[in-house]
């Protein structure tokens, strides 16, 4: 396990470095400086601005400074808003985004797991066909279509739930569902396929031959091995949820990191965009690492490949 852990770490750390370097040099390769406006600034002011943001140093030195800053949790100042550090934006937005993301992940696992299990038990029956048909539809409707439609239906027409502004737990319901739905569909399909594989295996036939009920077989013996591949899906799921959260926050007006990201992107606020890209990549890479380790622990065969 130690060897496995080290080898996973040895692949995650360079990945992280590559990501940071790629993101950093991309923003530095941008045509035009961050202070180019329609009105050109006087040369002296521009020189002072560049000195203040260390843009007059060689790129390598800037990169070193940036890396050092990140290590201390400092992502530098925003290029657009005075007196605001990217770290402050992150401290404000991250809790909202993480809450939204984890609630959606829980919902997706629960709903998707249940749907997939039912579909597998009644395979090729009408319930299975209906659920899987729905799942394919769910997979094809992106977050940014689900979200406004949910608002239209439940907030505007039926007035059951609030949309926008964080006021109490009820205001989380629609954003979480909008974010979770495509993942529910994906997880349902995944679980159904895995469960069908497991249900066809000899040990399940043995359990059936012993006269165990379908319920016991599925709940006791089949569900957990079938859920194992779900663990490795957690990495991509996290990436998809973070991406989806960007639009969901935008639509529901949640003060999350995704909104700062989009505003930063539209204003061409390089440091904000760079900081958030790096933060999200780090999160995803860390989560993938965690998932790999978890998988290696749950399924020892993986360690000896």
């Amino acid at each position: 396990m130690l060897h496995y852990t080290l080898s996973r770490l040895a692949s995650a750390v360079p990945t992280l470095f590559v990501v940071i370097a790629m993101a950093f040099f991309l923003t530095r390769a941008a045509p035009g400086g961050p202070f180019d406006e329609e009105r050109r600034l006087p040369a002296e002011i521009e020189a002072r601005l560049e000195a203040a943001y260390h843009l007059d140093e060689p790129v390598w030195q800037q990169f070193g400074r940036y890396l050092g800053g990140i290590a201390r949790g400092d992502f530098g100042p925003s290029f657009r808003y005075q007196d605001i550090d990217v770290s402050e934006l992150i401290a404000q937005g991250l809790p909202v985004s993480l809450t939204l993301g984890s609630l959606a992940l829980l919902t997706a696992l629960l709903l998707g797991g249940l749907t997939g299990t039912f579909a597998a038990i009644y395979r090729n029956g009408w319930l299975d066909r209906a659920l899987m048909g729905l799942a394919l539809v769910g997979l094809s409707i992106p977050n940014f279509v689900v979200a406004p439609v949910l608002v239209l239906l439940f907030a505007v027409t039926l007035r059951w739930l609030p949309a926008g502004d964080l006021a109490g737990p009820a205001s989380w319901v629609l954003p979480v569902i909008a974010l979770a739905l495509p993942q529910v569909a994906y997880i349902a399909r995944l679980i159904r396929a895995e469960l069908l594989d497991v249900l066809a295996s000899p040990y399940v036939r043995a359990a059936r031959a012993q006269g165990l009920t379908t319920r016991t077989i599925v709940l006791r013996h089949a569900v957990w091995p079938a859920a194992l591949p779900l663990v490795s899906y957690l990495g991509p799921a996290a990436a998809a949820l973070l991406t989806g959260a960007v639009v969901v926050e935008q639509i529901f007006g949640l003060p999350g990191l995704g909104r700062f990201f989009v505003q930063g992107a539209i204003n061409r606020d390089y440091t904000v965009v760079l900081g958030i890209v790096i933060l999200y990549s780090t999160l995803v890479i860390a989560l993938n690492l965690l998932v790999d380790l978890l998988y290696g622990w749950l399924d020892p065969r993986v360690r000896y490949r």
Partner: protein
Amino acid sequence: MAVGRATNRWALRVPLVLIALLTIAVIVGPWLSPHDHETLDTANALQPPSLATGHWFGTDDLGRDLFTRVMIGGRISLTVGVIATLVSIVIGVIWGATAGYLGGRVDHLMMRVVDVLYAIPFMFFVILLMVVFGRHFLLIFVAIGAINWLDMARIVRGQTISIRQREFVAAAELTGVAAATIIRRHIVPNLAGVVVVYATLTMPQVILIESFLSFLGLGVQEPLTSWGTLVHQGAQVMELAPWVLLLPAGFLALALYAFNFLGDGLRDALEQRYAR
């Protein structure tokens, strides 16, 4: 397996017909419509769909004809889909076939690169690219395709490794044909089946990325439009005129559904062929 074959046939026919209809509608639609997609007519803003006025899908908040806009937007969305998919095929096939054919250390290194890139949340990098290089139309195609080739490379590599074992490759090697020529002449043509299947699965992903960017205002810019842009504009006025949201959203979902459905069906068919 008679049942399996029968469902399979439908699993391919239904989405194929859908895709064909969508493509024809998107090409022919703007010519049939009595209105164009740009003319502003604020006096007739947010009109509901009606046959009498010729605004078959109604009008948007600036009085532009929604039917024509949805069709024009569809042209852009589907074009982005096709071109970005082609870019991803080219990169993925070259990368995967080279790694798979050469094998050994080169293969190991090339696949490590794919693994590393896999761990990155790509949408954020595409947005970073948009921020850095401006929202250039061509860039959207290339950026999306350049980022979506990883699955293709993995699949192609696996397939190449099995093709490499075949006699005709050995024959070519023995007669002294160069590696690059073998890949081009003997490997790549035999990859067609797999590539077509995974290209079908890439299409909806790519269309989704484009509409996602356009929805955020980072993709296609006015006066051009795409389904993502239209959904965004519809969401602004949905309380007054829900059809401005629902119609483009429906077309986008229908297209994604058809491609997902087709890709699923083709993949099942391919897997069955290899299983036999």
